[in-house]
């Protein structure tokens, strides 16, 4: 069924399989889209929080699924309980008056409760796991196929709704602002523009955030797209890009000596920079030009291959100022982390991406990173025909069997037994809502990325991404700030020092000293997310060969990891197939042909491909039992 949206690599594989003529069934035990790749409205994130706060309940085993296991089958228990998120802490600084009376205005029915209640048909209903259950998974198949077209439509409509909402924003704003000013009549807030232009006078209250909650699209993972990264290439190649819109990141920032400043990294930036001296401009340009094609000049770096990139930079004609920019903001590495070659590679990659779509190398999808899995799924759904190849048996809690040939699962579903030998890394994350940008400029609509290097050895650099309201991820007059780093302690312990450097908690008593003030925090969330990106499949216990494992999000800035993973897995599932080929030109499609002729032969082809590992596939999937 198409209503549930899996993680990014999963949705890419789904789209790719679908393009190659495979039937794909999505099954999800979570109550929201995308797993850890999800994106939430403000009320959505509050529900998510609540879920984690209640997550500790241990639930008993489900019904007698064992009875459904056939003789030649072997069961893998999948866990319902998500252990990938830990140490969730939330702080609200905005004034909370009237809090209880407000509700999110016209909240999109994206989150779980409403989805279930609005989809009363049996088929859809069965696709969702009741949240009490901890044990097995999941879902139906055959009868769902009849539903597919209509649910496609629903998905499509839902997406377009989101966009339409964005476009009619002006109108909505007026109504919202009206109510805001009603609440704060004592403060005499007059105009609609007040929020955006005079944040000092218009205090944003918690009730406003709640009310405007659907303006927020809060991503659990904070990533950007490298404009020449694998994901962009894939979006273009497969023409999935038509379902998404992007904004260019407008600024690269650095935090140095207690000040936030803009990093000049493009030719135009260097030219326009007021902070660099003429000589520095030349030094920087010269070094960057060299990095663009450093491979061609091995004599310039060969002697320094053994040392760290930061040491190498010291040997170059660069002032400390410039060394800092290159190391932390362009190569985005640290004093100790990478050697000369890695640093040069990272710098080259940064520069290579520069200028393709704008003055920085990065793009951000409107409405958040959570949009991207959806794009691939819309694509998949459009391609779907009503057939399923089921070779893998899934038994849901109602005792239904779903038979499928390949089973793709995110590692978060594995039970403790399966991953008893695995050591996971952690990502520390924080999401902030603030009232202004960390670096004020003429335009208040800036999207910035800022790297704050770790202070002590052993701590990691913190990546800060600040989104303005035109990215459709937060309400007007606020900024949504994502902080990410590799964990050394809990998220709050890791990130709070940086938050304190850049922001100040919102307080009722305002100092009138506007100039020296940092942006104020309205709301803050901290949590740790499991990083399973470098765990190899072999580390998991007893996985049959037709179970494919997707990792959760990695801590990197780009999405290359997800795409690589998707492509590798796709090649295993559909060997010799092109990965997400471009869709054919509509003019070249022959419509009158009979496309149902070769079902049998097709099935055997796939079988043969799998016959390399006959033992496991026999134990799990029985070809004879394929679909009714």
């Amino acid at each position: 069924n198409a209503d549930l949206i899996p993680s990014l690599p999963e949705s890419i594989i789904a789209a790719a399989c679908s393009r190659s003529g495979q039937r794909v069934l999505h099954v999800d035990s979570r109550s929201y889209y995308g797993g850890n790749w999800a994106s939430f409205s403000f009320s959505g994130i509050l529900s998510w929080l609540k879920e984690y706060q209640e997550n500790s309940d241990i639930v008993n085993e489900g019904p007698a699924w064992q009875e459904q296991i056939l003789e030649n089958e072997e069961a893998i228990a999948l866990s319902r309980k998500d252990k990938t998120i830990q140490h969730v802490e939330v702080f609200c600084y905005a004034s909370q008056d009237l809090h209880e009376e407000v509700e999110e205005a016209g909240a999109l029915q994206k989150n779980h409760a409403s989805v279930i209640s609005e989809n009363p048909t049996e088929a859809v209903h069965s696709a969702y796991l009741p949240s009490e259950d901890e044990s097995l998974c999941i879902a139906s198949c055959e009868m769902l196929t009849e539903q597919t077209p209509s649910s496609d439509l629903e998905t499509a409509l839902e997406i377009s709704n989101v966009k339409v909402t964005g476009e009619t924003e002006k109108h909505d704003d007026k109504t919202c602002m009206k109510s805001a000013s009603e609440e704060e009549t004592s403060k005499n807030v007059p105009t609609t523009e007040g929020t955006a232009l005079q944040p000092k006078k218009t205090r944003i209250t918690y009730s406003q955030i709640i009310k405007e909650g659907r303006r927020f699209n809060i991503d659990l993972v904070s990533k950007l797209l490298y404009s020449r990264g694998l994901l962009i290439d894939l979006l273009i190649k497969s023409n999935v890009s038509r379902y998404a819109e992007f904004k260019n990141i407008t600024r690269i920032l650095a935090f140095r000596e207690g000040r936030v400043e803009q990093v000049p990294c493009s030719r135009a930036d260097v030219f326009n920079s007021k902070q660099l001296t003429m000589v520095e401009k030349r030094m920087l340009m010269k070094f960057l030009t060299f990095c663009m094609e450093y491979e061609k000049h091995p004599d310039e770096y060969k002697a320094y291959e053994e040392i760290t990139f930061s040491e190498y930079l010291k040997t170059q004609k660069l002032t400390p100022n410039l060394q800092y920019f290159v190391l932390h903001s362009i190569a985005m590495t640290s004093e100790t982390a990478s050697n000369t070659i890695d640093g040069l590679k990272a710098t080259k990659n940064f520069l290579h991406c520069l200028g393709r779509y704008g003055n920085t190398p990065f793009l951000f999808p409107l409405y958040g990173q959570g949009e991207l899995p959806q794009c691939f799924l819309i694509d998949k759904n459009e391609k779907d025909k009503n057939e399923i190849y089921s070779r893998f048996a899934i038994i849901d809690q109602f005792g239904q069997r779903i038979i499928s040939k390949h089973f793709l699962v995110e590692d978060s579903y594995f039970s403790e037994n399966t991953c008893s030998h695995v050591q996971y890394r952690q990502i520390s994350r924080s999401v902030l809502i603030t009232d202004r940008s960390v670096l004020k400029t003429d335009s208040d609509q800036q999207i910035s990325i800022l790297t704050v290097p770790g202070e002590e050895p052993g701590t990691f650099a913190v990546r800060v991404i600040e989104l303005c309201s035109s990215t459709m991820t937060c309400m007007k007059g606020t900024y949504l700030v994502h902080l990410t780093c590799t964990s050394s302690k809990t998220a709050r312990e890791d990130l709070e020092p940086v938050v304190q450097k850049l922001f100040t908690p919102y307080t009722e008593t305002e100092t009138e000293n506007e100039e020296v003030e940092k942006p104020r925090l309205l709301w803050a969330l901290y949590f740790n997310m499991r990083d399973s990106s470098d765990v190899s499949r072999n580390s998991y216990n007893d996985l049959p060969s037709n179970v494919y494992v997707c990792s959760g999000p990695d801590s990197g800035l780009g999405n290359d990891n997800a795409v690589k993973q998707a492509e590798t897995l796709f090649q295993l599932i559909c060997p010799n197939e092109d990965f997400c080929p471009p869709p054919p030109n509509p003019e070249d499609i022959i419509t009158d042909g009979d496309s149902l002729q070769s079902e049998a032969s097709e099935a055997s082809v796939i079988l043969e491909a799998n016959s390399e590992t006959p033992k496991e596939s026999a134990s799990l999937g029985n070809p004879e039992e394929a679909s009714q």
């Binding site: 679908s18 393009r19 190659s20 003529g21 495979q22 039937r23 030719r267 135009a268 260097v270 030219f271 326009n272 003429m278 000589v279 401009k281 030349r282 030094m283 340009m285 010269k286 004609k317 391609k383 779907d384 025909k385 057939e387 869709p583 054919p584 030109n585 003019e587 070249d588 499609i589 022959i590 042909g593 496309s595 149902l596 070769s598 079902e599 097709e602």
Partner: protein, 563 residues
């Protein structure tokens, strides 16, 4: 084929479909073109022609003849239609033009047609046109067709220069490699900051100049290989063309000749030549003008220069150039002259010269700083040389020559240009030295000269030594050296002697070890009446049989010819 996969045409089928489509298109195109030409021939310039041409131009906006057709039709319709109908027609035309520009934003014909159309409208909407330009420059900030059109629109709409300057600012900020934008600045800034009448025209006040210099420095420090910034830099430091002047007047009693040197090439017909000769006590005397440009000479009637009078005053008035000069021939003197001082007038600093040498000095320092970082950047090296010349050509002579050497090494493609430029600078320096020494002897030997220039400045030189250079010719302009008596040009690569013509006082000419091959090239020597010594040793023509006899016949008055 797996299920759910779309069936698509094979590549052969696609190719065939494409081919048929193209064939169809070509047919339509050709028949429409034919119809238009027939209608035009028949004088049927009606709306159907507009329709037909729009079909073709919509696909290929570079069909200039069809734009002409459209203009003819529109002109005819102008007379026939009501104002309302015409307005609708214009609206369609503007929309059509825009669609053509989207097909090819660099189509000369389309932009020109838009200019023409807007020029004819009673109430053109210039604001919309500016917006259109801004859009097209957004897409391609270097589209000079659009820049041209923008300047046209801005002039028609009288857009304040400050606004246009801000527009160039915004585009330079985005990408400074933009000749059009820099050029536009050089037009707008003098308009924005008009100089008082007395000041040099086309120049900027110092505060503005310094700001522009900083801007352009940002550009060439960011990317020193970008030429556009260097060109603008040169414009900033340059000055307007020097005012017309008569550089030198020379009168010779013996030759009964007045010679005038102008500040720029002029072409004067004898009749148009303005003349006035004040012999003390006598009236105006007629002068004969000869064709010429830099050095300009006029023969005087011999009788007018008798030695009876205490002095003769000659005043030359150059009406076209609004300049005049006079010189006096005193009793008992063979000649008289009056000339501008090359040092006082800074004749050789035209290219780079602002009033304040401090500005130049600081520019020189920045460029040297850049050169240290970019030792092989030709633009930087050249600018350093020019700045040094503007500051003090003699003080920096040695350094300049070193920079020339580096520059030639890094830019071998322009070696010959650089040699010529270097020759010019060396000659200027020698001239300055001669002026300081107050002599009429010029030594230019052993300087690696490849070209002779500024010869019009050498009007008074009597002895010229050009030996041991790389000259390949004695150019026609050499004929301006009216006082030259001795010319040494040994050890060059001279092949022609066009300039050794009508030199009234030339007595000695030495041309040893050159490349004179044909006897014919010696022909001009016959026009030098006082030549008595000629040395041609070491030239190929000396090997030829009969050269001595030929020379004896050609130059009967020369009593010593060394072959």
């Amino acid at each position: 084929m797996p299920h759910g996969r779309l069936k698509v045409k094979t590549s052969e089928e696609q190719a065939e479909a494409k081919r048929l489509e193209r064939e169809q298109k070509l047919k339509l195109y050709q028949s429409a073109t034919q119809t238009v030409f027939q209608k035009r021939q028949a004088g049927e310039l009606d709306e159907s022609v507009l329709e037909l041409t729009s079909q073709i131009l919509g696909a290929n906006p570079d069909f200039a003849t069809l734009w002409n057709c459209r203009r003819e039709v529109l002109q005819r319709l102008e007379a026939q239609k009501s104002p309302e109908e015409l307005a609708a027609l214009v609206k369609t035309e503007l929309g059509f033009l825009e669609s053509c520009l989207r097909v090819n934003p660099k189509s000369y014909g389309t932009w020109h047609h838009r200019c023409w159309l807007l020029g004819r409208l009673p109430e053109p909407n210039w604001a919309r046109e500016l917006e259109l330009c801004a859009r097209f420059l957004e897409v391609d900030e270097r589209n000079f067709h659009c820049w041209d059109y923008r300047r046209f629109v801005a002039a028609q709409a009288a857009v304040p220069p400050a606004e246009e300057l801000a527009f160039t600012d915004s585009l330079i900020t985005r990408n400074f490699s933009n000749y059009s934008s820099w050029h536009y600045r050089s037009c707008l800034l003098p308009q924005l900051h008009p100089q008082p009448d007395s000041g040099p025209q086309g120049r900027l006040p110092e505060d503005v100049l310094l700001k522009e210099l900083e801007l352009v420095q940002n550009a060439f420090f960011t990317d020193p290989n970008d030429q556009s910034a260097w060109f603008y830099h040169r414009w900033l430091l340059g000055r307007a063309d020097p005012q017309d002047a008569l550089r030198c007047l020379h009168v010779s009693r013996d030759e009964a000749c007045l010679t005038v040197s102008f500040s720029r090439p002029v072409l004067v017909s004898p009749a148009a030549f303005p003349r006035k000769h004040h012999g003390c006590g006598s009236g105006a005397v007629g002068l004969t003008g000869l064709g010429g440009n830099w050095g300009r000479l006029c023969d005087l009637p011999a009788t007018s220069l008798n030695d009876q009078l205490p002095h003769h005053t000659f005043r030359v008035i150059w009406t076209a150039g609004d300049a005049q000069k006079e010189c006096v021939l005193l009793k008992g003197h063979q000649e008289g002259w009056c000339r501008d001082s090359a040092t006082d007038e800074q004749l050789f600093r035209c290219e780079l010269s602002v009033e304040k040498s401090t500005v130049l000095q600081s520019e020189l320092e920045s460029c040297k700083e850049l050169q240290e970082l970019e030792p092989e950047n030709k633009w930087c090296l050249l600018t350093i040389i020019l700045l040094m010349r503007a500051l003090d050509p003699l003080l920096y002579e040695k350094e300049t020559l070193q920079y020339f050497q580096t520059l030639k090494a890094v830019d071998p493609m322009r070696a010959a240009y650089l040699d010529d430029l270097r020759s010019k600078f060396l000659l200027e320096n020698s001239l300055l030295k001669m002026e300081y020494a107050e002599v009429r002897v010029l030594h230019l030997g052993h300087k690696d000269l490849t070209v002779l220039c500024h010869l019009e400045q050498l009007l008074l030189v009597t002895h010229l030594d050009l030996s041991h250079n790389r000259l390949r010719a004695l150019p026609p302009a050499l004929a301006a050296l009216r006082c030259l008596e001795v010319l040494q040009a040994n050890d060059n690569a001279i092949e022609s002697l066009d300039g050794v013509t009508n030199l009234p006082r030339l007595q000695e000419l030495s041309l040893c070890n050159n490349r004179l091959q044909q006897r014919m090239v010696l022909q001009p020597l016959a026009s030098c009446p006082r030549l008595v010594l000629l040395n041609l040793q070491g030239n190929p023509l000396c090997q030829a049989v009969g050269t001595s006899e030929y020379l004896a016949e050609l130059l009967p008055l020369v009593n010593s010819i060394l072959v």
